[in-house]
């Protein structure tokens, strides 16, 4: 169940203002240059732009200290990729749901009729075209024309459904990767089907921007359709979709007769048990960028609703016990296993990785509505990538890849960016 803002009051008022949400977990800080965890406060500097700063806004709204959302408040709430870095840093020492409080503040503000004008473009597109990118719904299946794979929109069932995701359907470069992905899966002998023209958005940008009504419609219809198609596994290459399908879909109370997997998990398994051989020697130094939605944000979220009783005088004990996920159970190793299984490739880790990775800057609508901020964050991350000595970034989400490529276009010193599937394909 999706909780109300008032359910996060106890979280919001237990922030101790220690500013740890602005940095990676302190024990993992490795240099001054790359010691920012939160792209928002790193660029806009005012405290409200940090995780803790937003919690204070949520509490102020709940307690009536703020009666309406000013334009600057909307900037604060939405110049943020909802990457969850604040959440995993804070949770190193506390049991506060930072990210989900931010989701709930956004839903609260949106429900009250406040929104950035640009977001009207996204929601209009979602309601009319079933994707947030204002592309026509009728062209949804174009990416897969001529592809030798089962098209479930024409009926039929499949063990594995490949959900390409909006960007992979409409953006030519991402579509090419999606086609390669399907070819690899078919080549490995998997019973895979796509939904072609009938595929619709997973609802992740709608959810993250607070439009939970739109999200519920997409999520419910996806779950119904996937159940009806008899899928055992739903595989996607879009990390944004994957993160929300894993952490939010289960909260809708609908039976999901399938497991959600990211393409890197499936690919890593195929390579491990020999169904796909990576023989070519690529001899390259690469670094890997952990997409937030594939990593910390893909962990299962357990909403806590209970009451806090007092023992030992004023010591607070939550009844039932609050289950806290600290982000380290996300998908981190499969992409690395793929990279390491390519002959001649050396993986050089960046400073901010795994559950304290630094965002690429594209998430939760920022790429579409605040591209300058998206590119600023991408440049920060690219500089960190270069600091490892590698000149090739591997990632596992079309949004990260697209944002990096856009930023690199404006830099003189070129850096390569590949999806982990492309790397694998080059090595077959």
């Amino acid at each position: 169940m999706l909780l109300e803002l008032s359910d996060y009051k106890d979280d919001m008022r237990r922030c101790i203002r220690c500013s740890i949400c602005k940095w990676p977990p302190l024990a993992q800080v490795k240099s001054l240059r790359f010691s920012n965890a939160c792209p928002s406060v790193a660029k806009y500097n005012f405290h409200p732009y940090s995780g803790g700063g937003k919690l204070a806004l949520g509490l102020a709204l709940l307690e009536g200290k703020l009666t309406e959302a000013t334009d600057e408040m909307l900037n604060i709430l939405f110049r943020c990729t909802a990457c969850g870095a604040c959440d995993s840093s804070c949770k190193y020492n506390a049991e506060i749901e930072v990210l989900w409080s931010i989701y709930s503040i956004r839903a609260h503000v949106v429900g009250a009729g406040y929104q950035l004008d640009e977001h009207a473009i996204i929601t209009d597109s979602l309601r009319r075209e079933d994707n947030p990118l204002s592309f026509p719904k009728s062209e949804r299946g174009k990416w897969a024309e001529g592809l030798d794979v089962k098209d479930l929109s024409k009926g039929g069932r499949a063990e594995i459904i490949y959900h390409a995701g909006c960007l992979s359907c409409y953006d030519p470069e991402s579509a090419a990767v999606a086609r390669d992905t399907v070819k690899l899966l078919v080549k490995a002998g998997l019973d895979v089907g796509i939904r072609g023209a009938q595929e619709s958005c997973c609802g992740s940008s709608a959810f993250q921007l607070g439009f939970q009504g739109e999200f519920i419609k997409f999520a419910e219809s996806n779950i119904d359709d996937w159940n009806a198609a008899g899928a055992k596994t739903v595989v996607t290459s879009c990390a944004c979709g994957f993160g929300i399908m894993k952490s939010v879909y289960p909260l809708l109370g609908k039976e999901m007769k399938f497991e959600v997997k990211h393409i890197s998990e499936v690919l890593a398994d195929i390579i491990k048990d020999g169904r796909l051989e990576l023989r070519k020697n690529l001899s390259a130094q690469v670094t890997y960028h952990d997409p937030c939605n594939l990593g910390r944000k893909s962990e299962q979220y357990v909403p806590w609703k209970g009451e806090a009783k007092k023992l030992l005088g004023q010591f607070i004990v939550r009844e039932p016990e609050k289950i806290i996920h600290r982000g380290w159970n996300g998908i981190y190793d499969p992409p690395r296993n793929i990279i390491n299984s390519v002959p001649g490739v050396i993986l050089k880790e960046m400073e901010r990785i795994r559950e304290y990775s630094f965002c690429c800057g594209a998430g939760s609508g920022v790429k579409q509505t605040m591209n300058d901020f998206a590119l600023w964050t991408a440049r920060e991350r690219i500089e960190e990538a270069k600091s490892t000595g590698a000149r090739t970034i591997i990632t596992a989400c079309p949004w990260c890849k697209k944002n990096f490529k856009d930023a690199i276009a404006e830099l003189e010193e070129k850096v390569e960016v590949y999806d982990v599937v492309e790397l694998a394909k080059q090595a077959i």
Binding site: K217, S221, D224
Partner: protein
Amino acid sequence: MVSEKRTALIVAETTRGGNLAPITLELISCGHGISKNMGGDVAIAILAEEIGKAPEDAIAYGADRVFLAMSPILGVYKADAFLQALSPIIEQISPEAILMGQTDMGRDLAPRLAARLSTGLIPDCVDIKFEPASGSFRMTRPVFGYKALADFTSELKPQVVTLKSRTWKPLVPDRSRNGEIIEIDVSMNASQFKTRFVKRVKEDDTQMSLEDAEAIICGGRGLGDASGFSILDELAKALGGAVGASRPPCDAGWASASRQIGLTGKVVSPKLYIAVGLSGSSQHMAGCRDSKIIVAVNKDPEANIFSEAHYGVVGDYRKVIPHFINRIKQIKEK
């Protein structure tokens, strides 16, 4: 002569040739029910260019007094003309309630009439009761796209109401009933009105209109492609019904947008609604939730449509429907 009797006034709708449209019989039946527990009678205003059996039918189906207003200008419905013709009748009867259908005419005329009489209007009413204690009516209508129902009362008289079609059953006609027929002279000429009727174009002549069909077959995303609709057409012919579509087939171009049933399409409540290959989203159900009997054919047992249907078959429609049609034809021949 102002009658003390409490009267329910019906505004009749007639077909070409001056006969009563089906909705009018339902209105009389409802008016009859009200006037009984009001201790009053049922009056009906028939405004038309030519009159066939309308007055006699009206009495047979339960009307007590028939007011006739004849004029060539009234041959085609036009709000200003109908308002002008109605006002002397209303003045004469000062009815407790004025009933119209939630039809093209009712939706257009009722608000104008209520505005002129400075009285209340409850549109699309599904239930109306006279409450002797307060001497006023309690009415129920669907709101929020059929997701909710609302009850209203009003002190103002006459209470204007438009009734949802196929909610009241017409009375069994009794030719022996007697009633009074009163002619009202109406003098009006076209030049006095600011609006002018040009012409009426019948569309979709091949198919029955969705609003009037007794049975509707509605296809959804699950049909897979346009060919699915030919199977539904065959079923519609077998049942003498019409074919509709939910939003996805219209978006995909398998069916014309005018056939779309749902919140942003047409709202229907036929006797039988057969939903084939559609999940039953809230927007779609808003258009058909009030059908008498809903039958669902879908391959996903979990689809929401099954929670709103009376009968259901879980299976692939391409296998279920053809045999369903054959069986119907066999039954019809018997």
